[in-house]
Amino acid sequence: MDTRQKLRTYISETFFVDAYSDQESFLKSGIIDSTGMMELVAFLESDFGVKVEDHELVPANLDSIDNLVAFLERRTAARPAAAG
């Protein structure tokens, strides 16, 4: 399953929503509440192996499927460098 699909499945099953676009803001459209955001972060950390720093907890990284995909791509691309 690619990243996008994996995220969509997680969001649908965790927050019980079916119809939403990849651009839609989770917070503004009420898909996820502020406490649910922490749940999403825990999922990214456990299932994608990224450690999300406090300064990264911003809508540009987390607040839509598109933003999440882009964030994960950046982090995955950066990982070898960081490890090296």
Partner: protein
Amino acid sequence: MCGIAGFTLPAGTPPEERLARFGPRLRRMTASLHHRGPDEQRGLVLDGAAFGHTRLSILDLSGGSQPMRDPATGLTVVFNGEIFNYLELRERLAAQGYPFRTRSDTEVILASFLARGIDCVQDFVGQFAFALFDPRDGLLWMARDRTGIHPLYYALTAEGLCFASEAKAIFASGWLQPRLDPAGLKQTVHLWSPLAPRTSFEGVQQLPAAHVARFDGARLQSRRYWDIDLSPENVDADLRLGEAVDRLGAALGDAVRLRLRADVPVAAYLSGGLDSSLICALAQEQLGGTLGTFSVSFAQARYDEGEYQHEVAAALRTAHRSVRIEDREIGALLPAVVRHAEQVLLRSAPAPFLQLSRLVRSAGIKVVLTGEGSDEIFWGYDLYKETAVRRFWARQPGSPHRPRLFQRLYPYLQLSRQSPEMLRQFFGLGLEEPDAFDFSHRIRWTNSGRVSRFFSADFAERTRDCDPAAAVRDSLPPRVLSWPALPRAQYLEMQTLLSGYLLSAQGDRMMMANSVEGRFPFLDHRVMELAARMPPGLKLRVLDEKHVLKRFAAARVPARVLQRPKIPYRAPIAEALTGPDAPAWAKELLDRAAVDAVGVFDGARVGKLVEKLAARRAEPSEADNMAVIAAATTQLLSRELTGPPADPPRAHLDAVQLHAEAR
């Protein structure tokens, strides 16, 4: 005190026939309210109406029996509650010539009505729900106190009108098949309660707070007799803090004094917060050291306020008792909670209150003072601060700094970990409409409304046209729409959460389940009206809530209580309803087939939610907590109240003493 029930019946039937035809119905209704009045149960079948009463004796223990009749006119009353200024009213009415036969406040209602009709409610400092039958014109009157402390339900039946303190008594009449009301349920998951006059049940209405109603045999007409005026024109702009503190002290002191009137001991609830601590301090001062206090504490540390409760009790030297509650007990208590509350819940917080009233009753106490109402009238809730910050931000929506203020609110929500940009997404909801009537409540209502995601497709379709926020808007008096955001927030808060949930599901019902009466000094209308006249800055001073109240409390409650961060009263939900320790009823009722059979929620979705919460992978979110308890309590409501009504226990039926009057 007490439970009331009754109905109208065709006039002109002889007493024996009346008793035979309508007695059994009245007996069942009255017996179903036994818990509200275990001391005495009586019913009276009149020519035109039948009244039943279950009594919790608090005033005039020997002379206050009900239903009570005025011998001269036949005017008859059943009454639940207290008229706290009955001694003053009694003196005045006696001077005008009314021949009082008892020392009860019940008789004061009869005399007051005879003196000035239903407008007599204007004279009452009290909390009440009552019905009057006037044989002179055959009219039935109903009245409910200003904030809805005491409940009053009614239904129109084939024979006329039927009323009672609880819906279960209306079902016990046999006139009505109990069925859940879809619109009432949808309103509850958005607003936390059905919006009066709507209830959770089809065909059953409630008289809204501050209303009187008149039934003439065919038509019911109700009207509001009191309202809070929060308009800027009503504010005394010159009122300074010192003077406001003095006036508040006098009003609240008198409110407590009147509420200590009883022929049995009066104790108090102590949560460890400012409001209840202050009430306890004032009561202890007036009682000269004999106050008993009661608290509930939680095994789970994040919910527990035990430390503060003990500190206040020690400082005030009260005789303190507390009961500790475990997660699994909350699950075990919920069926009884729902049976009494008669509505769907989004929080488990009423359950500890049921445990608390049990403790009070086991200590032999029937009356407690409690601190509800202060957060509404002095703007204590975070909702007011949130609204103030949102208004401030809406004036410069582009400001990067203004949303940072949200980090100062909700310290318990881990928001400090989240960036201002994130907060902005969340708290920015509706920011572009700062004048919308629900600006203050839109975030809360949107959050709780997420529960509707779990509705079954069929139920969602059936309630598609029901818009809970629009129903609130339509219920508002037009002038409220022109008030500033904070007074409007208070009005909405009092109409929805206070009256519909805090005073009922979490208030009266949880106390009366164990035959305990609560009294609410902050909801004395003189205190509410004083607070309404105070300049906004005395209530919410920048972001310091209940400013004037804290000043008044400073010399009376421990400093630590004044300085502590405000923590909302909460109780565990997901931990109590899911996982290996979940109660058997939850496993059974949240099962897919069981959920689908009731038809409100979608069985498969609820099943997934329960699985997710049972796995305990993460701290349960607000949305999930609300959804799982809404589903669980909907299932309970259906099981406990909409099945074929079980007959009240034989002993309760037999205990009702029935009489018929000749006229």
